[in-house]
Symmetry: C2
Subunit: 596 residues, 2 copies
């Protein structure tokens, strides 16, 4: 059985105590955010996820989506849950109040997003894709486009999608063939086939607003000739009334390893009417707005499923009895001890837990800076925050989903043979989690983005936004004996990250293959240091709270133990990563392609 | 599409050149083993696996097994393939000629086993379980039991199973409830429920011989009171004629994550007639014969699926075009380069390849010693070989399946989003591979077996059988400059393994939790050193062959490159593993169970 209770106490601890969000009440969108209001939002969100979404998770997996003659039926219960969801106003949590959104900080919406993904990843993909469409139209649309599409997307009455991939072109979007012919009425006629379109067709909303990348004939070759178009399933006439069916049809849905409740569609565009979003040939810029948000969200999927796997495995480990504690029977009156007494089960549970809590803190720290990057009044602060977010977005996407996948597998492993049986729900978590490593840019692409784009950008400006606070933290605690078990390993690993950065900078200049061969290990090294930094901050905070908030001592003491586990049993990977990535590209590239 | 061609050239290289099996032609079962005969066996086996089994792999996954009223139908094509299989005499390849087997060395049967698992893991589980039953009856049965059951099991006319697990007892077999009441005619009446019984019921053979663990009332408590029984589905009357249906029925089959073509059965025993195998209360000893062979076989499953994943991913990477090589377009006339030009794709392919070839050599080295342990005329050599096999069995089971799972996931990753779609077959490999980490003793149990049983046994005698040849190899090549890039990393990692061994020996004495908390990391450390050792031997051999066998230079040169990759990009993990495992049990055990 999948077990999930939203970790509300942890969200609140990170938000108020670690990130001290209450210090920012003077910022737009943070003003009304009293701790009580935040608690109420979290509790309502938790209730919805635990009571409405979680019970549909296994059944939706078994049932899947059904395709018939261009229409897609979502699994039983999704329609009702979606109704409740939009009535609760959850779709527009962080959207612009001008168009009906609630204008809350994104860091809050991110927490609710994590809960939803934990409870039912497939369901979360429907509103999740709409959020991206809202951002793209909000940032790049004309006033008319905004008033036409945003209110219904934000209310959840309509859904949104992103259409990038074609059969022969995934990562390499320059190969795109979908065409957009300009028409006399300023619209474009879109023709082509898109694949892997999440929520491309479904029965949850009355209209679906597709954002489609296509090439206007005669434009520049490759990626520079790509433009972005709004292509609604039903054309919108007067106000928001629905008119004619547009020339876009779902041709089929994919049979996948997991997220069976999420419709992954082949979309056929045939003379569909499209409206240019942003300028001609400026499609990639607009698309990046959506992609960056989507990449952060996908990273959180890794964490979210790891949380459910952790909770499920912990519940099972406290209940299932096999063998005896090596240090002597813990419950001698029973036939056997619960398996949580065994160190190897503990090692897996602690690994998952240390990852989850550290990753959550990192995601929320970056989420806060995502808010700063748009709402902070100081331009320099906005830029600094944007740099930090840009740097850590690929790290969160790839490290969270790679380790998240390892973690859900540890969850399954705690169940032994029973984990392999569909009934326990653990294998579903593994199948569902696996997609997060391949979509929104496979993780190898994230690593290239980090090493090839984010590191060198603006002479390393982004990197400084991360290195500087880590460095400051280490210096601040240099003489603190109590913090030494945390700060010393962090400092050591940070040193390795600096060394790796230098190596890549030097070697990559003369031979880009050197940087590319190092990229994935480098990304993971940075992910580990980032979690190490968050754990050190968590521990610093927990040590203060131990005295201030004596009623919750156990919560803070657990943080000290878990932080220690992270430093001693997870962070050491930085040593082998440094060694591997500085071994050079020759061992990777020396074989002739024909020898494979 | 799954791509698989049996790596016959690699099998032959390891067998003849690395392990120098032709030096042992004086040993029983090796006598007739001319290189030509071995080649012919490999080629015939390869043909069967590639042409008969591989084409059924995806269809069997989609179709699964069907349960109806106590009967199980295997997927379409399995019956015909099984007919061909037994007609080819493959079931009895390494079995005793006295009972119709072919008496070939097990190391040869192991290679054929790897091929079968690569091509169709589900299919391989049917004859695979019979092999275990043959060994148990051969080693522990009475003369009458042997003549009654062995010929038909060895010919494949009948199948065999292992029945250990019950709903409340998996790892902890002492909790077993299945009862065996002695009857007046020297038989026993068996009653109880067994779960997770691979091949417990199916339509491939006319009879199924179940080996069932049960407790004779009044025996010692716990595991010491367990006995093993032969319980045939149909009682055997005159000679091998089938008589009455026995009181054993399949109650249902499990719905699993993968290996859908393999029937995983709930078996209900109700007053079934059983025949004691070995002595009363000596069931575990007899069962261990089967379990050790099964654990080695399961380890090879990890390698086998990794091989298929590697070949499939390599084929895709040479075909799929996205982007350009960073060092400049490799095929400028095409719209894009094949993705094998990208270092991160190479890194994954090389990781899989380096694991596969190293693991294959290790499995075959241990397989050879498994032969020595039974057929060698020198008692001391038999004992030494048995010790080596005992030590490395849990390492092969756990490390091969853990890394094998990582490797099939790299295979999927090379396909990007397409890997998540059922059509490409990559996600099936991931689902199929996942079971190998949980069955035949979950991998955490293997680690405990290594650290708690194998290390201390006979004052470390087993360990010496592994440490001694590694040490000798390192010393032999101490001054060899050409071998330094291989021997230096091996020596460093071997030093770490020795350090870890000492630490566990010292700490484990005073606190068994220390050893148990270190066990999984220690096992992996030993697995890496063992592969490092095999790679150093492979390279040593390949360097000699480069001059002797100039027509195949490319094969040997690829070994030098791949060996280097292993040393520089995989073996460094030994450094972080040592650091983690010596961090002590406190970080794992400190939290109260209620805090999880």
């Amino acid at each position: 059985m999948q077990t999930y209770r939203a970790p509300v106490e942890d969200f609140r601890f990170i938000l108020h105590d670690v990130l001290k969000v209450d210090n920012y009440r003077n910022l737009p969108s943070f003003e009304e955010l009293a701790p009580d209001l935040i608690s109420a939002i979290f509790q309502e969100g938790a209730k919805f996820c635990e009571e409405q979404l979680l019970p549909l998770n296994a059944s939706a997996d078994a049932e899947g989506c059904r395709y018939e003659d261009g229409e897609v039926k979502t699994p039983s219960g999704f329609k009702e849950a979606y109704e409740t969801y939009i009535q609760g106003g959850w779709t527009g949590l962080a959207s612009d109040p001008e168009y009906g959104g609630q204008g809350l900080p994104r860091v809050i919406a991110g927490c609710i997003g994590e809960m939803m993904m934990s409870a039912n990843l497939s369901f979360s993909t429907y509103p999740g894709l709409s959020t991206g469409a809202v951002e793209a139209i909000h940032n790049h649309g004309s006033e008319q486009q905004k008033t036409t599409y945003l209110p219904n997307l934000i209310s959840g009455k309509w859904g949104g999608t992103m259409n990038l991939t074609e059969p022969h072109c995934g990562t390499d979007l320059g190969l795109m063939r979908t065409k957009a012919e300009p028409q006399s009425d300023d619209t474009y006629s879109i023709t082509g086939t898109k694949i892997f379109i999440t929520s491309g067709e479904h029965d949850l909303t009355e209209n679906i607003v597709h954002l489609v990348l296509a090439k206007v004939p005669g434009g520049p070759p490759g990626i520079r000739g790509v433009s972005l178009f709004i292509v609604p399933k039903f054309l919108v006439t007067d106000g928001d009334a629905l008119g004619e069916r547009n020339g876009v049809r779902c041709g089929s849905i994919e049979h996948k390893m997991g997220i069976n409740g999420s419709a992954t569609c082949v979309m056929n565009y045939e003379d569909a009417t499209g409206y240019l979003l942003g300028g001609e040939h400026k499609g990639m810029r607009a698309m990046f707005t959506m992609m960056n948000a989507a990449r952060l969200a996908v990273g959180i999927q890794g964490l979210a499923l790891s949380e459910t796997a952790y909770q499920s495995a912990a519940a099972y480990a406290k209940e299932r009895r096999q063998g005896r504690a090596l240090s002597g029977a813990k419950e001698p009156d029973e036939a056997a001890d619960p398996i949580i007494v065994h160190p190897d089960i503990r090692r897996m549970l602690m690994s998952m837990r240390a990852f989850n809590e550290g990753a959550r803190a990192l995601a929320m720290w970056v989420g806060l800076h995502l808010d700063f990057s748009t709402v902070h009044p100081d331009e320099r602060t906005r830029q600094d925050s944007e740099d930090l977010v840009a740097l850590l977005t690929p790290v969160i996407k790839a490290y969270f989903t790679d380790y998240g996948f390892e973690a859900v597998n540890m969850g399954l492993q705690c169940f032994g043979g029973a984990g392999y049986i569909q009934e326990t729900g653990m294998e579903q978590l593994v199948r569902d989690a696996r997609i997060s490593q391949v979509y929104e840019g496979a993780n190898g692409i994230q690593a290239l983005d980090l090493v090839g784009r984010k590191l060198p950008a603006h002479m390393g400006r982004s990197l400084r936004q991360f290195f500087h606070p880590v460095d400051q933290f280490i210096q601040k605690h240099a003489g603190d004996e109590d913090m030494r078990p945390y700060v010393a390993p962090l400092a050591k690993s940070f040193g390795r990250l600096q060394q790796a950065t230098l190596w890549i900078g030097e070697q990559g200049l003369s031979d880009p293959d050197q940087a590319a061969a190092a990229a994935s290990d480098y990304l993971r090294l940075m992910g580990l240091v980032a979690l190490g930094f968050m754990w050190a901050r968590i521990v610093e905070t927990a040590r203060q709270k131990l005295d201030e908030d004596v009623d919750n001592r156990e919560f803070y003491e657990a943080k000290l133990v878990t932080g220690r586990f992270f430093m001693e049993r997870m962070l050491p990977d930085t040593s082998s990563l440094l060694s591997k990535l500085t071994s050079g590209a020759a061992n990777v590239m020396a074989l002739d392609a024909a020898a494979f």
